[in-house]
Symmetry: C2
Subunit: 537 residues, 2 copies
């Protein structure tokens, strides 16, 4: 075999924190009678792997003749790295990240070289690369990672993803993804039932993220009212306008730009102090748009807005949409799945492993009507099975990653009640944080009142700003506080939480709790850390 | 713990084909001195796992206190299922698929129930579900799977995907994906260098599939010439037209519909007998469009078309684009990466695990210009690091899956030369197939001449059609041959290959070779199988 340049380092690095590191595993034992067998097993595994791996090369792996064993050995070695990473991610004594600037990582860290070359590396080096990739990354599953977007590492979801990549197929036809296509159909139906659509009737699709689901919703609305745009383009329609909250996700504007509406035709709706759309403002802006000769097409309402976690008043908005014959889309997270919904379509951002988002539509044929191109090479009508299960032509993608399996598997393993419990726990933690800081010295809430969702938005005031009169100087100073604390958090690697300005409000912290590993002690830790780092700013 | 309804079946099913099944592994041994240790290891692992797994419940897994061991045990049990699947996938005595109709799978197969419920299932049942999901799926990595789209299971790519899902992060900011963001930057630069752009200058992004990359290309072209469309919509531009081959991928038309151009403004270009765009036809259609008052905007040229594998004459098309000031996009697979390219942007569909596609652009700021919305909650300008590495605002997605790592890891493990060897091998196999059937009784080639790419398109004529004079009857009968053979293939589970009509040509087989596991013997097998199943039709 050819040895990579870092061979001597490898064994040392694989061993530190490798499967031989049984000390912390020992604490996890629940049944004493298993002890001997376990230690024996791990020692055997470690001895076995460390002996074998240095003798395998790429050309030994499948599809090579007799490649089964080397392949399994290589994958087991990788799994050892991954399971160690998982184990440490949940250990609060592990750092959330080991921060380095881009130029530092680009220059190369102790043999971790990102550059690609003509010649192959050894498999030993590949395993070191895997370990280093994780080492210099961010542990989004850490109990103290509260940053956007994905937080938490669900073990069942992870198992689902490992299987998905092993199956490595494509959602476009039943032909090559029979089980996954059916899982998608059944899961979408179940979701439609839960939001209260009669018999779960309707249609839907999983898409690569909430932004794309929102884009679908605008496309569908346009197709519903102006189907000729599909063939003739936007010039076949009058000037169409879309409405969305000034607090809504930026993907609605992005969709407006991409789909040919133009961002100026995405009208932002005013909100109340809590970030909820004011229905009267929607109606006024609809009337105004009509007076200007525009045609109001679509309203996006948000069920749990990005920053404030606000719930727009869906029923009142739905009434206005009905009155003016507008399409109503609801952009919301899965957290409130099942709580309500008489609206026309919905997308769901999950607390699952990335990526997982679904667009649900009441009108059964509209996704296909809007997007199908009937490509002969893929969607042959003369197959031996029921080709209505070839759902790929509904999508704007051709190849479509299997996003459903992890979600289906998590639903199987937890049941609907498990999802509910998870959401309740996150809401409880948000309430705990809110109660902890609402009257605490040095804190100001961005808006008053209990959190509607898992978002808690607040300013932390260093000692030097407390009692300073409101005004430009205080605003400017306060604006710089959250970025400074965040930078120090990242450099110390202890925790991560998002911040941003919003409208005329200067930078504030936004806590969003969806990590199943987080507990009250982690909330306490975050607050202590903000105070430790920010007190003397 | 709570036992699922299938507990008795589990142990039996886990054991059959489980880690205890060492017989076929034994054949794989290369070093006799390792034998004793290996058998010992696998027996230990099996004994260990089968004892442990029935005592773990969901609530034992991380983030539970002392959840490390149960979590690792659960994941190892899953990995055992996955590695067995991998091993069997490469074994030619395994079926490519075990075909069932949708209604059969929906009714439930021997305890494999797709329905979701309120109550959780046991972890034992979850593992059975995982096994069954694979059992009733299609082995796209099988050496005899030649169907579209993804074929082959690359072990390094698989390892990359397992790590990606374990890291579970998002490409939108350097903040939470420092290593992956840099890997993407470096890989895109390397790709630009290889296609010959000076110093690898330019920009790019990985997207969820080639169709989305093609959509990006149309958006970028529009932004380049009519940037005001971003804010004002398509009404700010004249009637724009796009040009693409009648043989091009359907995603160009789909993008035309989605982005507000309209499919009627996607002008299809005529091709020669080999499926290559005729440059004179492009020029004539540009002139015609201008005469009709339209503004020609964009030409899509294809480097390896979907069905024929045709290479459009890029240089001549580029000359015409320059003459009329049109944007030139080249839609092509990675197979010819590095062989040529003076064109403006390119997307790449890989032979890697799904999903992996990149859009490359010469103009450095244009992706950001076209798509950025500067969402304050995500792309804060006041971070402590160089925020030009926060690339998320260039994308139409918000959350963006990490698609780069598997590609980067495969490139590391194989080197550029490894990719080249893979491509050469696929081309050789296509040539082998072509030579085998071009003069063989019962075969007709869809077009004459050596394959330009890995595509080989052909009709198989059953005995009853040979010698029948050309005409409607023969055409109708021939049209039904490929679907019939394909259906029988799927039902016998022996192999899979795509078919379709194209233009006025009735259904033919289209062989595309990208599976690294395929050999000449698999090509022979496919041909034998077509003849076995189709001879007497």
């Amino acid at each position: 075999m050819s040895f990579g340049p870092y061979r001597p380092a490898l064994h040392q690095r694989i061993r530190s924190g490798g499967v031989g590191d049984t000390s912390s595993r020992r604490q996890g034992r629940k049944k004493d009678e298993d002890d001997g067998l376990r230690v024996f097993f791990f020692c055997t595994l470690w001895l076995f792997l460390s002996q074998i791996i240095s003798s395998i090369t790429l050309s030994d792996l499948l599809p090579a003749k007799n490649g089964e064993e080397p392949t399994i050995q290589f994958l087991l070695e990788l799994v050892d790295i991954l399971t160690n990473y998982v184990k440490k991610t949940f250990d609060r004594s592990t750092k959330v990240l080991d921060f380095h600037h881009p130029h530092q990582l680009l220059e190369g860290m102790e043999g971790f070289n990102l550059e690609l070359s003509d010649q192959p590396e050894s498999l030993e080096q590949i395993l070191v690369d895997c370990r280093d990739t994780l080492k210099y990354g961010v542990r989004t599953g850490h109990p103290r990672f509260f940053n956007q977007l994905s937080t938490g590492l669900d073990i069942i979801g992870l198992a689902g993803e490992w299987l998905t990549s092993t199956a490595n197929t494509n959602m476009f036809t039943y032909e090559i993804a029979p089980v996954f296509v059916l899982m998608e159909q059944l899961t979408l139906k179940k979701m439609r039932e839960m939001i209260g659509w009669p018999n779960g009737e309707g249609d839907g699709l999983f898409s690569p993220g909430g932004a794309i689901s929102n884009m679908y919703s605008v496309m569908i609305a346009r197709y519903k009212y102006f189907p000729e745009v599909k063939t003739k383009g936007m010039s076949a329609a009058p000037r169409l306008v879309l409405f969305t909250s000034e607090h809504s996700h930026y993907s609605i504007k992005k969709a407006g730009a991409a789909l040919g509406f133009g961002t100026e035709n995405v009208i932002l709706l005013s909100t109340d102090e809590r970030g909820r759309v004011i229905p009267a403002d929607l109606e006024a802006k609809i009337i105004d748009a009509k007076q200007k000769g525009c045609v109001p097409l679509f309203v996006n309402a948000t069920g749990g807005s990005t920053v404030y976690g606000a719930f727009d008043p869906i029923n009142e908005i739905a009434d206005i949409c009905e009155k003016y014959n507008l399409w109503l889309h609801v952009d919301r997270g899965a957290e409130d799945l099942g709580l309500r919904g008489e609206e026309q379509n919905i997308h769901v951002i999950e607390f699952l492993p990335l990526q997982c988002s679904a667009i649900l539509v009441r009108d059964k044929g509209i996704l296909a009507g809007c997007n199908s191109m009937c490509a002969g090479y893929l969607f042959q009508p003369d197959k031996q099975y029921d080709v209505t299960y070839d759902t790929g032509d509904k999508a704007i993608q051709c190849g479509r990653h299997v996003d459903i399996f992890k979600f289906w598997l998590m639903w199987k393993a937890k049941g609907t009640i498990g999802f509910e419990q998870h959401i309740d726990k996150c809401l409880d933690l948000s309430q705990y944080l809110y109660n902890k800081i609402k009257n605490r010295e040095g804190y100001e809430m961005v808006f008053n009142g209990e959190p509607q969702h898992t978002n808690v938005c607040f300013w932390y005031l260093p000692q030097s700003l407390r009692g300073m009169p409101d005004g430009d100087e205080r605003r400017e100073k306060l604006h710089r506080v959250a970025p400074k604390i965040k930078a120090m958090m990242m450099e110390s690697g202890t925790t991560m939480v998002g911040y941003q300005p919003q409208g005329n409000k200067v930078n504030f912290f936004r806590m969003v709790i969806s990590n199943p590993a987080a507990t009250q002690s982690d909330i306490d830790f975050l607050i202590d850390e903000i105070e430790r780092l920010g007190h003397d700013l």
